[in-house]
């Protein structure tokens, strides 16, 4: 089984290195093909592993020691258990699709080879993240995906910085840096959590850590839980570290699909699921997580309502869905979170890829107000995006329905009705903005003609490649029971209580109702043509929403600018004017004293003689002082 593990793990790395060898040469189709094939290999290995885990149980492999110092002994260890196996399959599947898709999407890009190198490297990192058997190994993957995300967001690094009005993300390079730095902030928290674990457990292996949860004090557990969650908040873009995700849309769309929707951003959720023995012991932190998740869910959804940027809308929806996952995980329904994670990966990746098709057709235009009526030219894409949006909106019998509905049930079941209500509301909003997007893009009047676009459908094989995602977006939910049975071998099972059982039907109806309601509203508003109301657009709530609650501006003003100014002060005022000037000042004082005392050496013998006489007197005074002292 170790072979399978290493095959699954290293195939993407090999692909990445292979592509990297051609990184600076002009496009070679070979790189795309090879990496995609290797990804497929990895996918197959993952599936085999999944089967093995299903049939036999978890697998474990240790490659070698990594860090050995003091009592710290950290190996490159990999364990594939139920959760990991699911994650692996999801990751490799989406990755494979995205790789194939990218062959088409990046066809004309100069950085074709480079792109595949990065993309495969990302998959490798992600696999390390999910497969590692210890926290530091997870951290490797954690940082690795961060770097790959940085590389990929900044893939079109040559674009110049714009003002925020022109491009809310300023530039790909800027967005990349923002993402990296935001993540680093969270990573520090995670690192502190790891340190806490190390000094209290003496090991970072999952099994040992979780085994000793019982011996740790409650306060300590809370601290560890919070610090790890801070790490998760960064990677999963939870408030207040969320701004990077929308800006990350500067990257090529396949990247958004893979990294910023399906996989990397869910790492935070994965972490919470992985650390479930810990979080189970501290329900108050779990509740906090749930609250944060819930808040993010509606917060992000609200921003998606008014946005005009195709990808940003989807990004906000990702954010919102991540909130759902955290809500579930926080409430203790880890398997539900994982389920939603997987389902979301499929339909959201599909959605993004579809958006990619649209962009491709529209020559990288993202403003949905400039689109419309595209279903005529892009039928397949329309179908895919429709499916994905339905799934996202949680319409029966698509995947999203099962996963999201369960989350709502959980919220209800926990008697956290506030959470339930917000999530329920969000479900409606989700349906609305998803279909606002769909209608504005594919239905309504063909506004793109005004702008001189000539949209066309993408290559066939690309469309075929997307098919598995579409299928899964539809059918994945049907395996809910099997999924639950499988993962709850590891994760705690979540039982609904009697009361909820009774209410189940009602809940489903209510939820479906609001989702459908959202769709209907969107339909009414946008299916014919784009209706814009300048009054509303000028109103305060609208402006707040379209400006993301002014949070990026606030961060800019409250952190970035003061930091830059402070840095400038630190350098020019403190370092140069105080610290260095002190040193130079001492030197200057010494030199000036030299110049001053040199005056006694004025060349005049008479003065020399006087000094000599004076010297005797000074000595006398000294002698007197010394005599008096002793």
């Amino acid at each position: 089984m170790e072979t399978l593990i290493y095959t699954a793990l290293f195939a993407p790395l090999v692909g990445s290195l292979f592509a990297a060898m051609f990184g600076m040469s002009p496009k070679t189709l070979l790189t795309g093909v090879v990496t995609s094939l290797l990804l497929f290999v990895s996918f197959v290995a993952s599936v085999l592993l999944l089967q093995h885990v299903m049939a036999v149980g978890p697998v474990h492999a240790t490659l070698m020691d990594w860090i050995v110092a003091g009592d710290m002994r950290i190996p490159f260890g990999f364990s594939v258990d139920e959760v990991t196996a699911v994650m692996m399959v999801v990751v490799t599947l989406v990755s494979t699709v995205v790789h194939i898709y990218s062959n088409g999407y990046m066809e004309h890009d100069k950085g074709f080879n480079r792109f595949f190198s990065y993309l495969s490297a990302f998959v490798f990192s992600m696999l390390v993240l999910v497969m590692s058997d210890n926290f530091l190994g997870l951290f490797i993957g954690w940082e690795g995906v961060g770097v790959c995300s940085w590389l990929l967001i900044g893939f079109w690094y040559h674009r110049k910085d714009e003002s925020r009005d022109v491009n809310p993300s300023i530039s790909p390079a800027w967005a990349a840096n923002e993402a990296f730095i935001m993540n680093r902030i969270a990573d520090l928290g995670m690192l502190i959590g790891i340190f806490l674990i190390y000094w209290n457990v003496g090991s970072l292996q999952y099994d040992q850590v979780f085994a000793s949860v019982g011996q740790m004090s409650h306060g300590l557990l809370v601290a560890i839980g919070i610090f790890l969650f801070i790490g998760a908040m960064g990677k999963s873009a939870q408030f207040p570290l969320h701004t990077w995700l929308a800006d990350a849309m500067e990257g090529p769309t396949p990247v958004s699909a893979l990294i910023h929707a399906a996989t990397m951003v869910t790492a935070g959720v994965y972490l919470v699921i992985r650390a479930h023995p810990l979080y189970s012991a501290i329900p108050e932190v779990g509740y906090f997580i749930a609250v944060v998740g819930t808040f993010v869910a509606i917060f992000a959804a609200s921003m998606a309502l008014v946005n005009r940027d195709l990808k940003r809308i989807i990004a906000y929806s990702t954010l919102s869905q991540l909130g759902y996952m955290f809500a579930a995980a926080g409430l203790g329904a880890y398997w539900v979170a994982l389920f939603h994670l997987a389902a979301h990966a499929f339909f959201k990746a599909l959605l993004f890829l579809g958006a990619g098709n649209v962009m491709h057709a529209m020559h990288d235009e993202l403003d949905i107000f400039k689109m419309g009526g595209l279903k005529k030219v892009m039928g397949w894409t329309y179908a895919y995006m429709g499916i994905a949006s339905l799934a996202l909106a949680g319409i029966w019998p698509l995947a999203g329905f099962y996963s999201k509905d369960t989350i709502l049930e959980v919220a209800f079941n926990e008697h956290t009705y506030g959470i339930w209500f917000v999530l329920w509301l969000t479900a409606g909003l989700t349906a609305f903005y998803s279909f606002r997007l769909v209608f504005l893009t594919f239905w309504s009047d063909e506004r793109y003609k005004e702008y001189g676009f000539h949209p066309h459908e993408v290559q066939k094989y690309v469309l075929w490649a997307m098919a598995p995602l579409a299928i899964l977006a539809v059918i994945f939910g049907w395996w809910k029971e099997e999924f639950m049975a499988f993962v709850t071998r590891l994760l705690p099972a979540y039982e609904m209580n009697e009361h909820t059982h009774h209410m189940l039907g009602v809940l489903i109806v209510v939820t479906l109702a609001i989702a459908i309601g959202g769709i209907v509203v969107a339909y009414l508003m946008y299916h014919k043509r784009l209706r814009r109301n300048p009054k509303i657009e000028a109103s305060l709530p609208y402006r707040i929403l379209s400006n993301q609650y002014y949070i990026p501006v606030f961060y800019d003003k409250a952190f970035a600018k003061p930091y830059a100014e402070l840095s400038d002060i630190a350098w020019k005022e403190i370092d140069m004017q105080v610290v260095d000037a002190t040193v130079d000042g001492i030197a200057k004082i010494v030199e000036e004293s030299g110049d001053e005392s040199r005056k006694m050496q004025n060349g005049n013998l008479s003065d020399y003689l006087k000094w000599m006489a004076a010297g005797a007197l000074i000595l006398a005074v000294l002698a007197l002082v010394a005599a008096l002292k002793s």
């Binding site: 006087k610 006489a613 005797a616 007197l617």
Partner: protein, 183 residues
């Protein structure tokens, strides 16, 4: 008698030396210096150091003063000398304080305790005899060194005052011109 002589000599010496250091006229200065020296030899006689008194007379009045007199003629400095003396305050402050310091040191009451002389004057010998005895035994080496010193002084005097010093043999022309610039 001794007291009277001491005070007379002291006052005269102080006065004469004061003239030496304060007078503007080099002749007065030198004359009063010589007179002071003579009176100091008087003090020596008073103290019973006859030999020293004689040496004082011979060396100072005879040799040193003659040298100075020659030099003065050479320097053509027989008349009043113009000096830009530095501020009197500094000078007398330093001088006064030094005087106080020295007086304090030398007038300390503890001086003159009952000390055994280490090289007592032999009984019955006159002072010159006693001095001679010590000088040619114990102090023979310093005496000889003093002779060397005088030789050195002689050679030095001859060289420095000699004609050869008027021209530089150092092989450089510009060095001289450089100096001229500095003048």
């Amino acid at each position: 008698m001794e007291t009277f002589a001491f005070y007379l000599f002291s006052i005269l010496i102080i006065g004469l030396f004061a003239v030496t250091v304060l007078s503007r006229n080099v002749l007065y200065a030198m004359t009063s210096l010589a007179a002071g020296m003579v009176l100091i030899s008087g003090l020596f006689f008073l103290l019973g150091a006859d030999f020293l008194g004689v040496v004082q007379l011979i060396v100072y009045v005879g040799a040193v003063m003659a040298l100075y007199a020659f030099a003065m003629m050479f320097f053509d400095a027989t008349s009043v000398i113009k000096e830009k003396n530095s501020s009197a305050t500094t000078v007398f402050l330093l001088g006064g304080l030094s005087a106080v310091l020295l007086v304090v040191i030398f007038a300390a009451p503890s001086i003159g305790g009952n000390l055994q002389p280490l090289y007592p004057s032999p009984d019955g010998a006159s002072n010159p005899q006693a001095v001679g005895l010590v000088l040619f035994t114990k102090y023979l080496v310093p005496f000889e060194v003093a002779a060397v010193m005088l030789l050195v002084a002689m050679i030095a005097g001859i060289i420095l005052a000699g004609k050869k010093m008027e021209h530089r043999i150092t092989s450089s022309e510009e060095e001289n011109s450089g100096e001229k610039e500095m003048k």
